[in-house]
């Protein structure tokens, strides 16, 4: 990046089911919290970038910009994107370009308002031809897992270990969420339960392998470097903001044992941040399923392709909150991930940023990680669709490497 962008405030709602709240109530709550934590007034905002995937479908409302304008009672530029990371990237671009100094980035989603039909909408969004062929939001993750099993010829005991690793990812994320007061699920589960759900449903992956359908909102306040000094002494900086795309149709992609967009986005992000992969000890990945947490570690480069299941299996043998990959500690989804923190699509990326900011600033309370050496950088991966768009943001206590 030409110049890092500072995060000077963060806010979020609890994720879960909010029967009583409209989407604008949720974003209001998250936005106020973010403004509050930054010590800003509404009038300080130069612009807003907001995100949601499906409000037009779930709540039959559009023109979210107008809702935000009315809440703020301001006429500033406001644009709507789909994912939080997309809004964040566009906000960073504008700040880097010198157009704005203070920007609110917010995301919201109200998926439970369309509980009975949401899976059809999600699958159509992922790829309509796959939908027409009978695909479901869950089955595509199972296909990825089958591709992986086939590509790396994982059989017999190894297959069992792989399935155990996936179960333990879910268990780990549920445990992490216990200390996250905003999480959708704040209860521990055990490996037996993950397996029992798979067996009961007679599916490859079961209830506890998938992120839930949630409502929620998140917001952060960004500032240009020169403005950040006026408001915050202990800002966290966005030192890279990168994304890549891939074909809408998963079957037609040449690379199907992971997401090539993840790999490209991460490589570019590291270059942009001028740091090495090993400088990152904290990682929020988009674990829509347990498979995606495992696969993402490979795609992002933390472990070689085809080896994550074995390396994670070793890590889980004496697990104390982090994976041990390539001789390095890596803390993944310390907020419980999408699995337990929740997954209100448009807001999810904001919760990932929220978590990394809190951890980097040492404000994560009971779930604060204790890494060997300084915790300087954190990384957030957000995915739109099924690997169709992947965003990587690297956050740092410092303004980037040399």
């Amino acid at each position: 990046m030409k110049e890092p962008v500072a995060i000077i405030g963060v806010g979020r709602t609890r994720f879960g089911e909010h029967y009583e709240l409209d989407p604008e109530d949720l974003i209001d709550e998250a936005g106020l919290m973010a403004l509050d934590s930054a010590g800003l007034e509404r009038k300080d905002l130069d612009a807003c970038y907001i995100s949601d995937y499906l409000l037009q479908v779930t709540n039959k409302i559009g023109l979210e910009e107008g809702f935000i304008s009315q809440l703020l009672e301001m006429n500033i530029p406001i644009e709507k994107m789909r994912s939080f990371s997309s809004a964040l990237m566009n906000a960073c671009n504008a700040i880097e370009a010198g157009r704005y100094d203070i920007v609110l980035v917010g995301g919201m989603e109200k998926m439970t308002d369309r509980w009975s039909k949401i899976r059809d909408n999600l699958m159509l969004l992922v790829d309509h031809w796959s939908y027409y062929a009978g695909g479901t939001p869950e089955s595509i993750h199972e296909l990825l897992l089958r591709e992986y099993i086939k590509e790396y010829n994982i059989r017999g005991d190894d297959r069992q270990k792989l399935m155990e690793v996936l179960a333990k990812i879910s268990v780990k994320n549920h445990r992490n969420a216990v200390f996250n007061e905003y999480a959708h699920f704040r209860r521990e589960i055990d490996v037996k339960r993950v397996f029992a759900a798979r067996e009961e449903e007679r599916r490859l992956l079961g209830l506890y392998d998938f992120a839930p359908i949630s409502d929620g909102a998140t917001a952060i306040i960004l500032a240009s470097l020169k403005k950040a000094k006026e408001y915050a002494n202990d800002a966290v900086y966005i030192i890279s903001s990168s994304m890549a795309t891939d074909y809408i149709s998963y079957p037609s992609r040449p690379y199907r044992t992971g997401f090539i967009a993840s790999k490209i986005a991460m490589e570019n992000a590291l270059k942009m941040a001028k740091i090495s992969l090993h400088d990152i000890k904290l990682l929020e990945v988009y674990d829509q399923s347990t498979v995606l947490e495992m696969i993402s570690l490979e795609d992002l480069g933390f472990v070689k392709k085809g080896e994550a299941w074995a390396k994670l299996y070793e890590s889980f043998e004496n697990f104390s909150g982090f994976y041990y990959l390539d001789g390095k500690q890596i803390f993944v989804n310390t907020n419980g991930g999408l699995k337990a923190d929740g997954n209100p699509l448009g807001a999810t990326g904001g919760a990932q940023i929220f978590e990394v900011v809190k951890q980097l600033k040492g404000e994560a309370g009971q779930r604060q990680i204790k890494s060997d050496g300084d915790l300087t950088y954190g990384c957030v991966q957000e995915i739109e669709g099924f690997g169709t768009k992947v965003y990587v943001h690297i956050l740092g206590r410092e303004k980037g490497g040399k």
């Binding site: 039909k117 790829d127 027409y132 296909l143 089958r146 007679r202 490859l204 998963y250």
Partner: protein, 504 residues
């Protein structure tokens, strides 16, 4: 719900699995494209049209969907996966069809992956009763099971005949059956209907005949179970099978396509029309196709019209008529008609009614016997001059009695008697019997077919097989016998039969 333009576009690509191929590097795509991503500008406008409709693919990876999205819930559990064509040059998502997976049944995915599959033309998913019926060919079955893989190769005709006749045929009967007593009846899978059966039968007829699909000038589809009250089956058949010359810019086929209706003789009635068109002196068509397909409907047992529920079947037969490479030349025809309403269905009623005793003597027998006798008189033939006899088969007893009354012996009429295998396939009934005879007849054999349609009328035809009947047989893997005595047939109980027949 539902968008007509979206349905048109999805069906246009998805029913046929259309794609494109780069003429320079050979890269292939599912869905048509104007240029190749690798070769760029030089390929613009030069891409070759391809499709995967007659191809064999491989199920590369799969999983079981047990909790489908809303529009797929009537399928229950199914296998969903990635299918590759042409050694992985193209990959598409696909659903395996014709599989019943109980909620308590586990599926060994390892045993399915890597197996060859063929695309099947089916209904896509459920929609509201008033919506357009969505279809797609991203449904597959294993190539080594019930529905075999057969390549479609266009064969240049070698011989011209003086009289028109049958140049090829195809019979399609589903893999599922219900067995009650000595009778077996074909049951559609939940995603099948008269439309899908008509397409499948037509596809097999094209494969068997080796006729160039572009040279077919007219297609008739006879059915009494079109799931639409208004909207032809024939237009779907023409588009999916690409009958007639395609005008690509507009996406239209240069063919006349029409549905016909006259209970169980809706198809046979058009045989003569098709044969007339191919020998019309001024502007003859090369070929004309006639399809009879039905998902014969019946009220549940115990309700009015429920007596039909013991006999209804599912399936279709397609015949291609022409003057070249004929396998059975027509000798003559005779039809008779009277206002005899012995079986009917009023508009908006789901099931037909039935005239009970009245369907026998004054209806079925009177017309069949009249038409059969008149045609023999007309051509000055005796039953002993005829090698095979086949007539409409609403149940096992009626056709045997009609044949005997006309003076035919069991060895003449048994080869065509298929009702105890498939049930009454209505418009497909006597045509399937005719196909069963053509499957086995030697050259220079005389075949008489007499259909019957309630309402009422009969069409009688006499055909004589030619030398060429034998040479085309290697292209007919899906014979009537193969479908009747197949080890992959799956028997279902009464409840499943009713559910499948209701469809999506």
């Amino acid at each position: 719900m539902g968008s007509e333009p979206i349905e048109r576009r999805v069906a246009y690509i998805g029913d046929r699995l259309k794609g494109s191929k780069c003429p320079f590097c050979g890269k292939e795509y599912f869905r048509t494209r104007k240029y190749c991503g690798d070769c760029g500008r030089k390929s613009l406008g030069k891409m070759i049209d391809i499709d995967f409709f007659y191809e064999k693919g491989v199920l590369e990876t799969c999983t079981v969907v047990r909790e489908p999205t809303n529009r797929f819930t009537r399928f229950g559990a199914y296998v969903y996966g990635i299918i590759s064509f042409h050694n992985g040059r193209v990959r598409v998502p696909g659903r395996l069809t014709d599989m019943i997976i109980g909620s308590d049944k586990s599926v060994d995915l390892d045993s399915l992956e890597g197996r060859e599959v063929v695309p099947r033309f089916r209904r896509r998913h459920s929609v509201d009763k008033s919506d357009i019926i969505p279809t797609i060919s991203l449904a597959f079955t294993f190539a080594d099971e019930y529905y075999p893989y057969q390549p479609y190769e266009i064969v240049k005709p070698s011989k011209e005949y003086d009289a028109p006749g049958i140049v090829g045929y195809g019979v399609y009967v589903s893999k599922f059956r219900i067995r009650e007593g000595a009778m077996e009846r074909s049951v559609p899978f939940i995603d099948e209907d008269a439309i899908t059966a008509a397409v499948e039968a037509g596809k097999i007829a094209l494969i068997h005949s080796g006729v160039d699909h572009k040279l077919i000038g007219k297609v008739y589809v006879g059915s009494e179970s079109n799931p639409y009250a208004v909207n032809p089956i024939a237009s779907k058949v023409a588009q999916v099978l690409k009958l007639g010359e395609e005008e690509k810019a507009e996406g239209v086929q240069g063919i006349d396509a029409v549905d016909t209706e006259f209970a169980c003789k809706a198809a046979t009635s058009m045989f003569k029309d098709a044969m007339a068109l191919v020998c019309y002196p001024k502007d003859p068509m090369d070929y004309a196709m006639v399809i009879g397909a039905d998902n014969a409907q019946a009220a549940p047992r115990g309700e009015p019209g429920g007596e039909l529920d013991f006999f209804v079947g599912f399936g279709g037969a397609a015949f291609i008529f022409g003057m070249k490479d004929v396998i059975a030349e027509v000798e003559g025809w005779y039809s008779c008609t009277s206002d005899t309403p012995d079986f009917w269905r009023r508009d908006l009623e789901p099931y037909p009614r039935h005239g009970g005793r009245f369907t026998g003597e004054p209806a079925y027998f009177k017309h069949i016997i009249k038409a059969g006798r008149k045609l023999m008189e007309k051509l000055n033939l005796k039953p002993s001059d005829i090698d095979y006899f086949v007539c409409h088969q609403p149940n096992p007893a009626f056709p045997a009695r009609a044949a005997a009354t006309l003076g035919f012996k069991p060895e003449q009429y048994m080869p065509g008697l298929q009702v105890s295998k498939f049930g009454n396939t209505y418009s497909g009934s006597s045509p399937i019997g005719l196909a069963a005879i053509l499957d086995q007849a030697e050259p220079h054999k005389r075949i008489m077919i007499v259909s019957y349609g309630s309402g009422a009328g009969s069409d009688a035809y006499l055909f004589i097989t030619t030398e060429q009947i034998k040479e085309k047989r290697s292209r007919q893997k899906f014979t009537v016998k193969y479908q009747a005595e197949n080890k992959f047939i799956e028997y279902v109980d009464y409840a499943t039969y009713r559910k499948f027949k209701e469809g999506l």
